[in-house]
């Protein structure tokens, strides 16, 4: 295996390990003025980095298409162009699906018809036509020319999607917002990591078993959903100094401090809107399921992208 191949395996292992660690043990907002469980914001570690990588790959496919139309492309550069376009399609679907799952909790509804949500759906749909252009047009030269035109035009969609929250009123935060807060350090590192994986994939074909690392990640992410499968967590609607009030009306005579510390921040209770489960005689904070589900989908999509790269 080449040095770059070893580096790729290392990056993939770090990607799975950091995603799993941050989703299950990483920092999350203590108090959220907006809707839903604060732990749903753990999604920033698995939703944002692939979404940023999507725009990087869209820019790369655009640059290669323009260069190819102007000067022509080598076989290798043509493979890069195809891989970047396929990646945009796959990551576009992931960004839409994972964002929709997260939106159900944090925006109040899954299909909020938010400008970023809808524009990323259009982008994913249109980039999904790319394989048809590359495989459906029999004349190879014509196929490449059409693909280049397609990717040059497709970049307009990426620009619209990227700046959608700036162009019109949106529920989605503006580009760069998430990097400014305390969650940004870990998320920023993961953004760089995911981009590094995609850049490494341009130069190194993954070994066949590399995608198995991501499939192992799927198993771990699903396994971490166990409190949702075994303990029927309930949402906290209020707390006192000595008790926790659940959505069902049940009152647990447990100080909220024992479940989430600090129990109050600037006078605001931190536990409400979160989910807790009664397990093993104690009360445990249960992180929102959407982050685990999105982690599992992310790993599955990355395994798919790696297998795709093997064949190019």
């Amino acid at each position: 295996m080449s040095l770059l191949g070893v580096l790729l395996v290392f990056l993939v292992v770090v990607d799975v390990a950091t995603a799993v660690y941050l989703v299950n043990w990483g920092p999350f907002p203590l108090v959220v003025k907006e809707l839903g469980a604060p732990t749903a914001y753990l999604n920033v570690y698995v939703h944002v980095p692939p979404a940023v990588a999507l725009y990087v790959m869209a820019a790369l496919s655009f640059a290669l298409a323009v260069w190819g139309a102007w000067r022509g492309l080598s076989e290798r550069a043509l493979r890069w162009m195809d891989f970047s376009a396929y990646s945009v399609a796959a990551l576009g679907w992931y960004a839409f699906v994972s964002g929709t799952i997260w939106a159900a909790e944090s925006w109040g509804t899954p299909f909020a018809l938010d400008p970023r949500q809808m524009s990323i759906l259009v982008l994913a749909l249109i980039y999904s036509l790319y394989p048809a252009i590359r495989r459906g047009v029999e004349d190879p030269e014509r196929s490449v020319k059409l693909a280049q035109s397609f990717l040059i035009a497709g970049f307009a969609l990426a620009i619209i999607s990227l700046f959608a929250p700036v162009l019109v009123q949106a529920l989605h935060p503006r580009p760069g917002t998430t990097l400014g807060g305390p969650l940004g350090q870990y998320m920023g590192m993961r953004i760089l990591l995911v981009i590094a994986i995609f850049l490494a994939l341009l130069f190194a074909k993954p070994a066949r078993w590399t995608s198995a690392v991501y499939l192992a990640g799927v198993v771990v992410a699903v396994a971490l959903l166990y409190p949702w499968l075994l303990y029927q967590p309930q949402r906290v609607v209020n707390v006192t100094d000595t008790a926790i009030v659940l959505e069902s009306g049940q009152v647990l005579n447990v100080p909220p401090e024992q479940v989430l510390s600090p129990a109050f921040f600037n006078g605001t209770p931190t536990l409400p809107k979160n989910f807790v489960a009664v397990a093993g005689g104690g009360v445990e904070l249960v992180r929102h399921f959407s982050a685990y589900v999105n982690a599992a989908i992310y790993f599955a999509i990355m395994a798919f992208i790696l297998r795709l790269r093997e064949r190019l």
Binding site: K33, E34, S106, M118, F150, A153, R235, V237
Partner: protein, 124 residues
Amino acid sequence: MNRWVVAGALVAVFLAAGIASLFVGTPKDVSDLKNFPGGKVRVSGQLVEYGREGDYIHLILRGRDGFIIRAVVPYDTVVRLAGPSFQFGNEVVVEGFYNPATKTLNITTILKGCHSAYYAPVKS
């Protein structure tokens, strides 16, 4: 056909699709409900006041030309989603069923962005 011409034509098509996608979910203004026959609607308005009435929270929303409606939502729903120390902002976007006879919107969904959560204090 020249590839740049094809690219230009595709840019026009993709731009149209992309720009249309930005406005699919744009809510109506409260003032637009003056001529709305009733039914499900997503609406945005300035919050004049809100308060609790028994099991419900009522919101008075004003449109751009001053048209006012009353919107109601179960108190439990708000507390479940927004917590016991919830606060509505100046601009409210909600979805629900509007009855023009009573100028009342029965809210089914409160829509709210997540703009400030990223700057919140963190639990490590």
